[in-house]
């Protein structure tokens, strides 16, 4: 990383923003460590920790055996005893085998023990479709995490938010699940280290509009923005809300925007049933029932495992074209 000292980047990749965030936190706090499979020598399956071993050494950037439950469980113990671990799971799909340590240990320890101790750790992982990884390497499992009290859940879509929210996650005194999307690592945006707009529980209005509110997070925000630009051609002004964190969730801005526009579309790459999208939809119904001109629509991935065949994979998640179509329909 040659630009380590810079405070402003006109253009930086999502991947480099993450690396920089971990670098800067590790610089400022000697107790921050990174552990996970191939995070050190290899630099992370998606390159997010590349170069950090050379800078911080193998005491702080630690390659582990392929033992996910223990990577997370050991992070819990380290966090309870003074370290600030950033654990990396190569794929979010490995939540499957790790869920006890995430849900029964990390999430509940502060509460069960009456507030005596904290678990200040970050669990980074990446999910989503786009690489034909199939049913066990392409999932969007944020609803599993959002369902569990005790876990912060962060899913930024832009490099600047990835940077600032990862730093804040590392600083927080609670366990944070920080989810990236495999198709975002090469995406680019600006980064101003000094201008901190991102906060937990504060959504970002990516595009303002007075006709319809489109609520999304992670990679789908970018698709929603494309759709909003397309909708302009038909004189429909969509407001695009990027939630950035799902716990805490910025209900206030969701409700404000929907009350203004009276029409809402929730877009997510997770499944339809029992999902983040269904949670947001029900919040809107609870708070904006009298304002709505049309039912709130949740546009999500299919309620099926993710198929490998590229044509099926693509068809199984929300498309820009359909966001446009559904928005137009809601405007009728």
């Amino acid at each position: 990383m040659s630009d380590i000292e810079k405070d402003y980047f006109e253009e930086i990749t999502y991947r480099d923003a993450l690396r920089l965030a971990m670098h800067d936190e590790m610089n400022e706090n000697k107790n921050v460590i990174i552990m996970g499979e191939d995070v050190a020598k290899y630099g992370g399956a998606y390159g997010a920790t590349k170069g950090l071993l050379d800078i911080f050494g193998e005491n702080r950037v630690i390659d582990t055996p392929i033992s996910e439950p223990s990577i997370i469980g050991a992070s819990v113990g380290a966090a309870m005893t003074g370290l600030k671990p950033i654990a990396e799971l190569m794929y979010v799909d490995f939540f499957g085998m790790s869920l006890d340590q995430i849900a029964n240990q990390a999430a509940k320890i502060r509460y069960m023990f009456g507030g005596q101790t904290s678990v200040p750790m970050v669990l980074r992982a990446q999910g989503g479709t786009g690489r034909s990884g199939g049913a066990q390497h392409s999932q969007s499992l944020e609803s599993w995490i959002m369902h569990i009290p005790g876990l912060y859940l962060v899913m930024p879509s832009k490099p600047c938010d990835a940077y600032h929210l990862l730093r804040k996650s590392i600083q927080l005194d609670d366990p944070v699940v920080f989810l990236e999307h495999k198709m975002l690592y090469n995406s680019k945006g600006s980064l101003d280290k000094k201008n901190i707009d991102a906060e937990f529980g504060k959504a970002s209005i990516r595009l303002e509009g007075n006709d319809i509110t489109i609520i999304s997070y992670s990679r789908m925000v970018n698709i929603a923005e494309e759709a909003a630009i397309e909708l302009k051609k038909s004189n429909i002004n969509a407001e695009v809300i990027d939630l950035r964190s799902l716990n805490p969730l910025d209900k206030e801005n969701i409700i404000k925007s929907v009350k203004k526009n009276k029409r809402a579309l929730v877009v997510s790459e997770g499944h339809y049933t029992s999902s983040v999208a269904s949670e947001i939809t029900s919040i809107i119904f609870e708070h904006c029932f009298g304002d709505l001109l049309k039912p709130v629509i949740r546009y999500t991935a299919e309620d099926t495992p993710v198929p490998v065949a590229p044509n099926l994979e693509k068809e199984s998640i929300p498309s820009m074209e359909n966001i446009v179509n559904f928005s137009k329909k809601l405007m009728e």
Binding site: E37, D38, K41, Y42, A45, D63, P65, I66, S67, P69, S70, D93, F94, G96, M97, R131, S132, G133, G134, A135, Q136, H137, Y272, K294, P295, I297, Y299, T300, A301, E302, D303, T304, P305, P307, V308, A309, P310, N311, L312, E315, S316, N322, F326, K329, L330
Partner: protein
């Protein structure tokens, strides 16, 4: 001593040629993605173990399982089509390289979760015991899975219940970029298995015949209810997945180990022992090459799935409704 060397050579050569063609298919842009894990250099283990197994035996594989599947009777055309994500593939293109399966030859499934397919063979062993079937079930996995707790839970159950099960570790020295030395403090894996009450052996040879005679008793014992563990030491000749160039490995190490080639070894032995002439081997190689070329054409020409296929096979007796249909029911067409 009965010699299977010609057979063994053919199996190993077919595996290698198939994997080379997978690589070609990728370069042509015809594979479904790049999560393709080639077993070039690792052909010996699947070849000798497969030979020791019977027709009604079953197995699971890890993500680097093309070779095992081929050795057990996989059809290269349907395998290649699956890798291309096509309708005519083994799993209709929905599973791909990492989740390929064929119940008709006892392939209970490849797995993209390291260690994910290991307990499956414990359950298969329970079935065979329950139904008094003479079958065994073999789990193939990499050295990375030696560090998954689930392996030891499975070994314990297999030993506790005297199951006809074999755990087979293809130890290619690396789990992605991490060398085995960085993953374990002690490399005595047979010792681990023995401590659970399993038969165990480790094979470190280029001679597939020698390997066969070493592992055969473990497989035979499993059939009579004494579970076993086999470690096959080998080397992953190329990158972890198709895009990986192994920058974390020492070039000299790679060179050295690529010389230690079980196929070259078998070829030389075939010639030295006058089992096959060089010409005959060339002819055989040619046939194999043609067979695998055909697999590529088959995969490229195979048809894509209709998008309706997304909704099939989620359940035995119903298909989920598409999200678009659900939305249209709310807001109209």
């Amino acid at each position: 001593m009965n010699t299977f060397l010609e057979d063994f050579y053919k199996t190993m050569k077919r595996i290698r040629t198939f994997e080379e063609r997978v690589s070609e298919l990728f370069i042509k842009g015809e594979t479904a993605g790049s999560m393709l894990h080639l077993s070039i250099g690792e052909e010996l283990g699947p070849t000798c173990i497969s030979k020791a197994m019977n027709d009604n035996d079953t197995f699971t594989t890890h993500h680097r399982g093309h070779g095992i599947f081929l050795a057990r009777g996989g059809d290269p055309n349907k395998m290649m089509a699956e890798i291309a994500g096509k309708k005519d593939g083994y799993c209709k293109g929905k599973g791909g390289s990492m989740h390929i399966a064929d119940m008709s030859v006892g392939h209970l499934g490849a797995n993209a979760i390291v260690g994910g397919g290991i307990p499956t063979v414990v359950g298969a062993g329970m079935s065979y015991k329950y139904f008094s079937k003479p079958s065994i079930s073999v789990a193939f996995f990499g050295d990375g899975a030696l560090q998954q707790g689930i392996l030891y839970e499975s070994m314990n159950m297999a030993a506790l219940w005297d199951l006809p099960v074999v755990f087979c570790c293809i130890n290619n020295q690396y789990g992605m970029g991490t060398k085995i030395d960085k993953a374990v403090a002690v490399k005595d894996f047979t010792g681990r298995a023995k401590s659970f009450g399993l038969n165990a052996c480790s094979v470190n040879t280029l001679d597939v015949e020698e390997a066969y005679y070493k592992i055969k008793p473990i497989i035979d014992d499993a059939r009579s209810g004494k579970p076993g563990f086999i470690e096959i030491e080998c080397y992953r000749f190329y990158g972890h997945a198709r895009m990986d160039k192994s920058p974390y490995r020492d070039i000299d190490e790679e060179k050295l180990y690529r010389e230690r080639d079980p196929i070259k070894f078998a070829k030389k032995k075939l010639i030295d022992k006058n089992i096959l002439s060089k010409d005959n081997i060339d002819k055989l190689d040619n046939e194999i090459s043609n067979e695998m070329d055909e697999a590529i054409s088959f995969a490229i020409n195979a048809s894509l799935n209709d998008t309706n296929e997304i909704f099939k096979d989620v359940y035995s007796n119903k298909n989920p409704e598409s999200i678009k249909t659900r939305i249209k029911k709310i807001i109209g067409n």
